[in-house]
């Protein structure tokens, strides 16, 4: 069943597929739980190796499930189709609670990890997330998200081959640092030159 649905083009791309006895809804839930961007029906179908029609039906079932239309609990989250894709969102009526939570939870100051990552981006821009991670030797996904959210960095371009997004710093950072251009960043080149040799493979 799995292989037909993706017309046998690339068996490898969906090695996972999912076992026949697993409901499409469950696999979709898994993907939606970690998806950052709205997911297209076709993309979801390919990802789990199920027919598009089945995915469409399952999405509708999930919407109803989370909305509590058949006596199930009306969840604190909801599944919405936005901009041609599906994504999990906080249900509207909890916006206030979540806003307050975000307000009290997000620190006003950047963490040491965020500052270091920002410094890496400032000196090596444009730079991909993978390259930052290699230099920092930690996963930087959430830190990069924070910096994006703070408007200190921006997505400069996407590498057409690898699809990797490259980040650059913004005017806001210059303002915060009190300088007019990146040229005014203090030179750390001696070490950078030495150090960078080790990062060529990044």
């Amino acid at each position: 069943m799995d292989s037909e649905t993706i017309d046998g083009t690339d068996v490898e791309s969906a090695p996972a597929g999912i076992p026949d006895d697993v409901a499409t809804e469950r696999a979709l839930e898994a993907i939606l739980m970690i998806a950052d961007e709205p997911q297209s029906v076709v993309g979801l179908a390919a990802g789990i190796g199920r027919p598009v029609a089945d995915v469409r039906r399952a999405l509708a079932a999930l919407v109803a499930d989370y909305d509590g239309v058949d006596g199930t609990p009306r969840r604190g989250f909801e599944l919405r189709e936005v901009g041609g894709g599906w994504r999990l969102y906080v249900r509207g009526e909890f916006d206030d609670v979540v806003r307050d939570f975000v307000h009290t939870q997000s620190p006003a100051k950047l963490s040491q990890a965020a500052l270091e990552t920002l410094a890496v981006i400032a000196y090596k821009q444009p730079i991909s997330r993978g390259a930052i991670a290699s230099i920092r030797a930690v996963n930087v996904d959430s830190v990069v998200r924070t910096l994006l959210g703070r408007g200190l960095i921006t997505e400069a371009f996407t590498d057409s081959e690898t699809g990797a997004i490259h980040y650059a710093t913004t005017e806001l950072l210059l303002t915060q640092l009190g300088i007019n251009s990146l040229d005014e960043l203090p030179k750390i080149s001696p070490l950078l030159d030495d150090g960078s040799k080790g990062f060529d493979d990044v």
């Binding site: 916006d95 997000s106 030797a137 959430s142 750390i188 070490l191």
Partner: protein
Amino acid sequence: MARSPEPEAPAAPAGTDPSAVAIDGAPDEMAESTEIAAEAPAGFRVHLATFDGPFDLLLSLISKRELDITEIALSAVTDEFLTYLRGLDGPDELEEASEFLVVAVTLLDWKIASLLPQGELVDAEDVALLEARDLLFARLLQYRAFKEASGWFATQLAAESGRHARSVRLEDRFRERTPELRWTTSLDDFAALALLAFTPREIPVVGLDHLHAPLISIREQAAHVVSLLRRGEPVTFRQLIAGADQKGVIVARFLALLELYRHAAVGFEQLEPLGELTVRWTAENWSDENLVNLGADYGQ
């Protein structure tokens, strides 16, 4: 605490000699928890990439020989180790040499404890001797325990790195509620952070801190030992190390002796277990040129 570790040792099968048990258990576990030479059925092999520290080596030597370390034939292990060192080549010699000194210190401690009761350690001090011996034993056990635990860490970290937690971009409607950014980093601090971030995390260092003495030349110490022995009279090991004020010097003289023994230049005599070790000059054709190559295995 003489024999206390064994009963609790998780790997200990029941009914065997307790002091041997913990180590008997070692070979199989070592094969799983370390990559040291486990796949080599015959011959002693240590892969440099995974060689890490003297205890590793001691453990693998011991587990391979399946010896009770409290009764171990130290000379056999030492010979084997020397052979191993001899087979080394490549750029790691310096590191090997320094690591070797650490191993040698451990071996020497051990030898002193088990075979060479010198000076005040004689007779009634047997108890203290046992304790010293068991201290090493306990250290090995402890090290092995951490090593096994590290296997659990590796498994858990690998398993968990495959897990996916929800961590998605904050919806725009919530972003506006993020408190205004308080920026407190100066330009110079910012540059310093960059420097920090770009500094390679793992700088290869030859670990010598734990040796509080400067590197000591085995060759020089061998020359000293040879000069004492060539007078013809048997000399005890205690006499050989008399006046040595650094542990490293003792180690080096000990190593020099082992090397000289390998060249058939000296013979050992020990009348009773734990008795005085007497060294005798036995070389028939000895020239000081032999000294030149002595210790070459240690990167000197």
